[in-house]
């Protein structure tokens, strides 16, 4: 009975995933057979999709680079450093942050964060402008891919923090005591007995965060004034797949609609590839996971 229910649930997930993939492929097909000149940009699907794939990856990378260390640090503080009362309060706050709708983050990013980042961007352009990613002139509105990445980081942070906190709390006391009894400080104990135990969990949490960052539409659409692909992170320009679909889909018809669905298919494949890599990284150290 139970095994039947479990099997059914598992089969349902695979079936739904397959149906989604099938829909994406079938609906995307006209794009690939269409005359390259008719595709947006006029040079075929690849030159249309390439810049926004890169834009998506840039925004997601910025988000994870900021959110992962901070999220893990917040989780460690809650699980191993904060006094118990403070830890509980902080835990609730982090869980609440994860529940805020993305449009709220988008509105905050567009109305507050972007304008307060104008001055720092100008400073970066002036002093570090020789680095291509900080090349000027800085955006006058602050609505750049870097701002979008920061907003995404703020959105992803609570997900990473609250998932990794749960993993850190489950780190076996047995091994933590072993480390302490060898004369480890609290930080050394965390490095010996907590972080190795939590490694797979941290990667999973980051992947879930990445999923949100890759697929986020509203916040990016509100915060980024999009444009063609450029290297500088502090000028307006760049676009992400999800925001492109959200902005253009309502008015799309015919080939343009198939084009956007094809873009969705590409996003789907990116997510799939990222998850498979993560799975592979987790499994590589299976022998030392402590599961045996």
């Amino acid at each position: 009975m139970f095994s039947g229910a479990a099997l059914g649930a598992g089969a349902l997930i695979v079936a739904v995933l397959f149906a989604v993939a099938l829909f994406l492929v079938v609906q995307a097909l006209p794009t690939f057979s269409a005359n390259p000149a008719e595709i947006t940009g006029g040079e075929g699907f690849f030159s249309y999709i390439f810049p926004i794939v890169i834009g998506t990856l840039i925004a997601a990378t910025i988000a994870l680079l900021i959110a992962t260390p901070i999220g893990v640090a917040v989780a460690l503080f809650i699980s191993h450093y904060a006094p118990r009362r403070l830890a509980r309060g902080l835990g609730y706050v982090v869980d609440l942050l994860a529940a805020i709708p993305s449009v709220v983050y988008g509105a905050w990013g567009a109305s507050f964060l972007a304008s307060s980042l104008k001055a720092p961007y100008a400073w970066l352009a002036e002093h570090l402008g020789w680095i291509p990613i900080f090349a000027g002139p800085a955006s006058g509105t602050g609505k750049t891919i870097l701002t979008a990445g920061i907003v995404l980081a703020v959105m992803v942070l609570p997900i990473i923090a609250s998932l990794t906190r749960e993993i850190f709390l489950q780190a076996p006391m047995l091994h933590q005591e072993a480390a302490l009894a060898l004369g480890a400080t609290r930080w050394e104990m965390i490095r010996m007995a907590v972080l190795p135990f939590a490694r797979g969990g941290i990667i999973s949490a980051v992947m879930l965060g990445l999923g949100r960052a890759l697929g986020e539409t509203m916040a990016v659409a509100l915060v980024l004034s999009s444009g063609p692909l450029i290297a500088s992170l502090i000028r307006s320009g760049n676009q992400t797949i999800a925001a492109e679909i959200a902005l253009d889909f309502p008015e799309a018809f015919g080939l343009r609609m198939h084009e956007l669905i094809a873009a969705g298919l590409v996003l789907f494949l990116i997510t799939l590839a990222v998850n498979m890599v993560a799975r592979w990284v987790i499994n590589r150290h299976k022998e030392f996971s402590g599961a045996n």
Partner: protein, 259 residues
Amino acid sequence: MSKRIDVSDLNVYYGDFRAVEDVNITLDAKSVTAFIGPSGCGKSTFLRTLNRMHEVIPGARVEGKVLLDGDNLYADGVDPVTVRSQIGMVFQRPNPFPTMSIRDNVLAGVKLNSRRMPRSDADDLVEKSLRGANLWNEVKDRLEKPGSGLSGGQQQRLCIARAIAVSPDVILMDEPCSALDPISTLAIEDLINELKDEYTVVIVTHNMQQAARVSDKTAFFNIAGTGKPGKLIEFAETATIFNNPAEKSTEDYVSGRFG
């Protein structure tokens, strides 16, 4: 190195609850001292206060003195981290680090203290520690394999190797054989007999035959009832405790008659 421990007027509290009352005891260098007594009598709690591991438990605190060759472990400015690197501990359940190889497990404590160590020195230390724990011949061909793949008894000896690799003055053992089969237990007991040539060994055990086999002196702890603090009832040569104890309650306990 081996050092003597003098405990005077030690009380242990969990919050407001006094768990152990007024312990005065001297643990000789290069000898094995066993703590016996019924469950909940505070012997494990007391053992933990000897290397300040009780501080891991929220609300636990200590009043009194523990002198390691005259130096008070609870003096102001003494870092518990330093205390624990001098006084090693082996736990009830074997706990090698599951994410580390056998070799890295042995070196885990050493790497904390001295960051860089030539590979040949590290190899020598691994061999010496594993030989010291009577484990070398069993694992020398699979040092890079995970420590969690060993049997329970081997894991416990790996934990002992890990503890002696940092060359402590004292080794505390909290019921080290309670999760092991009789043959592994025998291996650990033989090892304890060898360890006392170099270290001060303190062992908590529920197995009175074990206390009689391995220890030079035995301390009997007891509680008057639930909610009362544990006390040190009697401390003497092991032969005296088991054959001719001074206290009635000690005699009742070692002969299997309670109350």
